[in-house]
Amino acid sequence: MSENGKIKAIVATDCGSTTTKAILIRLVDGEYRLIVRGEAPTTVEAPFEDVTRGVLNAIREVEELSGHEILDGEDIIHPNEGTRGVDLYLSTSSAGGGLQMMVAGVVKSMTAESAERAALGAGSIVMDVLASNDGRLPHEQIERIRHLRPDMILLSGGIDGGTITHVVELAQIISAADPKARLGAGYNLPVIYAGNKDATDEVSKLLEDKTSLYKVANLRPVLERENLGPARDKIHDLFMEHVMAQAPGYGKLMGWTDAPIMPTPGAVGSIIETIANRQDIQVVGVDIGGATTDVFSVFRQTFNRTVSANLGMSYSVSNVLAEAGIENVMRWVPFKLPELGVRNRIKNKMIRPTTVPQALDDLKLEQAIAREALRLAFEQHKSFAVSLKGVQQERTISEAFSQSSSGETLVNMMELDLLVGSGGVLSHAPRRQQSAMMLIDGFLPEGVTRLAVDSIFMMPQLGVLAEVHEESATEVFEKDCLIHLGTLVAPVGTAPEGKPCVKFEAALADGTKVDDDIPFGEMRVYPLGVGETANVKVTPARGFDAGAGPGKPLERRLGGGVVGLIVDTRGRPFTLPTDESERVSRLDKWAAAFDAYPNA
């Protein structure tokens, strides 16, 4: 700590699955500002096999770019004096590759599904969902557990006070399978029991000796209520301890930081929640990384987080292709690429995750994949957000029994106020217009929505900083982190191409008056800079809703950004033409409207 206890210089790192990023923040003329950012490949592979190497490389790059001395050999210099040393070093970390677990619950559509939500919400890949009524015979279920070798098992089932038979049967099956962890002979597989509390003793008798058994509160204490928090938190703790333990050097890193290392999704979530609460708005945030895509939302003050642990731009990039299908990826690519070439390129990115697109074609292909990763991750988020609430949700019994697996989602794209993107492919896009397009195409916001990106991918670091020094975190966030792209107006409705959609009137900051009749199927971008606002009137044609109701004009004062005011009349729901040449011509037209690419 410097003189008068004021923090004057901070370095913070984020160890991602692909790259390790470092930022330097200094107190400049009474304001906390980002000075510079450095990055280096994450070093979990041979020959280093030590995550701290990548951390040091990233910090050294920061030193080089800023002229501020931070390291003395491999030690971080404390405290700060002028351009030497820092007062705080913090870090976040996301485990590359994800935790793989099995969940088990008594009824597939109830407790088993709740267990799956808990696991997904904590950042896991769910390898299988076991339920008493999943149609498999006991010996098949046992064989499955033995074959899959999950990293962890979550067992739930039975409301508190209800019968214990079924959940004890499940415990018997797990016990009989005697599952072994991936790590080897000496390691007991963690099993988390989050079911009927009356069955705890029986479950303990069956599993305590064979597994590392953890008992938490019932994740479905009554049918109409989920309580996923305790199970999710326990999974998360074991996740960090377990998977991060495989990232060599993590123990050393823990000794370097001035506060506990936060998992990256946790840190990003905390910053999203801060924005939503400070401005009283509905927010969706996304962090698309190398191995995972995390989606955060705050709707009606309810915070939700999903971690799509199998969708990402490097380690998991091939999984995006597998889940989306090659047609869905290629529909965003405005040129012909033989399928073989696309598949090989994507696989090469998967096996060499730290490479970057040098050619323009490569960039467009990566951004096409990003759109699909965002879309799929958001689908997962929407279908689970209803039950991933921190606040209990009461439903009537008939609603509970008639509930299909998706239920009623909290996510309402018409109500959404702000969409924030983070992660390499969004933050590092060579032109901000590309980030705007990926967010719009991936999420398909409706009505009026502000768009922003984390300028250089520092939300994780600011999130962990906010835990110990909120002043610097929020100041840097507002001044240096969020890049406002602009505001999107996207009417809901469809019509044949070229038919009337909206009349768009605006008085821009430079005095220009806009009075455009925009037909269906277009994208238009109007110049309105960061900090500028414009009075706008959007009059939708019959069959369209711009946010004020079907056919009703919307009058609002809208903010600008580095891209500007965007009007998207391509329709909601949105479809692309199947005819190849028509599709390519529209993609080119929309890209040109944004000036998205050189020679577009």
Binding site: A46, T165, Q172, A176, K180, Q246, L321, R352, V356, P430
Partner: protein, 374 residues
């Protein structure tokens, strides 16, 4: 000056290779420190618990679970034969008895008065692990396994499928840029590790599996063929458990890519020697790359390790390009500008200037090259 670190795969002509061989569950180590082992030598063994059968005896007999002890003919730990009575009711004055026969041979593992289930455990399956590489036992992990050390050539591939295999190295192409055509593989390659050049197609791989070659090592392979081989699109690169007659190891990546000269020449120099290969790949925390180990004569003490790649990129470093454009090209670093540069994609990145073998020069992102040992 910061060293911009660029990771690379290990390709060592002669190094000490240490392999840990561990049982999946506790068992017995059957070799001693100092023992010389071949790749087939069993170093540890144990028994995998037998398959489990669950029978709801209470339900079969129409009894409440808590009454189970009154009808059970066996107790926990008792052996049982197939067809033997597990449980039997007394019936009505000795008549109308009901009986539950055991569906298998095994042991009664547990009887639950809560669920009414009886768990039977079939006889255990013996499992053994071998040394995998020819060498010497240098460490014992009690009840778990051993560490085997050897001196030899060690080559890491970039991606593979299939587990551990052994065989003699057989180079079937003339140069690293030659494709491994199916016609080059014959019955004589049964049990061998076949070394190709740039690429093998589906028919070549099929031929190798037909003749039961132990492995194929080649520069590149096509993803659609991988999908065909695995029966599904590989989403995340975690492999090694596939049940394949022939392991496949790629040294360069996907597509038609000439094997790196150094790797090809090294494998060629080891032709005829026995190699141990493993196609297992894991690209996540705790990365595992496929490997080829060729034990050589000599002791660990005599090995002098070559310059490692831990020093980072420098002027004069030998590199290989690992992404389009120039994928697979070799060159030497001639400049390391500090300032970010704009690429065709307009990405601003830290670059290096490379001079290729044909003297052409190019500016490339530092992230798109890997160092190779000089």
């Amino acid at each position: 000056m910061a060293h911009a670190y660029t990771p690379g795969l290990r390709v060592s002509e002669r190094t000490v290779v240490r392999k840990e061989r561990r049982l999946p569950i506790k068992g017995e180590v059957v070799v001693a420190i100092g023992d010389t082992v071949t790749s087939e030598t069993v170093v540890a063994r144990t028994h995998l618990p037998g398959n489990v059968q669950l029978i709801n005896v209470a339900s079969k007999l129409g009894l409440p679970p808590e009454d189970l002890p009154t009808v059970m003919q066996k107790k926990d730990g008792d052996p049982i034969e197939k067809g033997e009575a597990l449980a039997e009711t007394q019936g009505f004055f000795g008549l109308f008895k009901s009986r539950v026969p055991s569906p298998c041979e095994g042991t009664v593992e547990s009887i639950s008065t809560v669920t009414g289930q009886v768990i039977l455990r079939e006889p255990p399956t013996p499992i053994e692990i071998d040394a995998y590489v020819e060498g010497k036992v240098v460490e014992i992990f009690p009840e778990e396994g051993v560490a085997v050390e050897t001196v030899g050539t060690f080559i890491q591939g970039i991606f593979g499928v299939g587990g551990e295999k052994t065989g003699e190295i057989a180079v079937v192409v003339n140069g690293p840029g030659d494709p491994l055509d199916a016609s080059l593989i014959t019955e004589a390659h049964k049990g061998k590790i076949v070394i190709g050049g740039s690429h093998v197609k589906w028919d070549g791989l099929q031929k190798a599996m037909d003749v039961r070659a132990s492995g194929i090592v080649v520069g590149g392979f096509d993803d659609p063929d991988l999908k065909r081989l695995l029966g599904k699109d590989l989403g995340v690169a975690i492999t090694g458990h596939e049940d394949l007659a022939t392991a496949l190891i790629l040294t360069e990546g996907f597509g038609e890519i000439a094997m790196a000269h150094g790797t090809f020449d090294l494998l060629k120099s080891r032709e005829g020697r026995k190699a141990s290969v493993n196609g297992a790949t894991q690209i996540r925390a705790g990365v595992i790359r496929p490997e080829i180990v060729v034990p050589l004569e000599g002791d660990a003490e005599d090995v002098v390790e070559g310059a490692s790649a831990t020093t980072g990129l420098e002027i004069g470093s030998l590199i290989r390009v690992i992404r389009e454009p120039y994928f697979g090209a070799l060159g030497r670093v001639v400049d390391l500008p500090n300032e970010l540069q704009k690429m065709e994609s307009e990405s601003m990145v830290r670059v290096l200037k490379v001079e290729f073998e044909d003297k052409e020069q190019a500016l490339l992102p530092r992230a798109n090259v890997e160092m190779i040992e000089g």
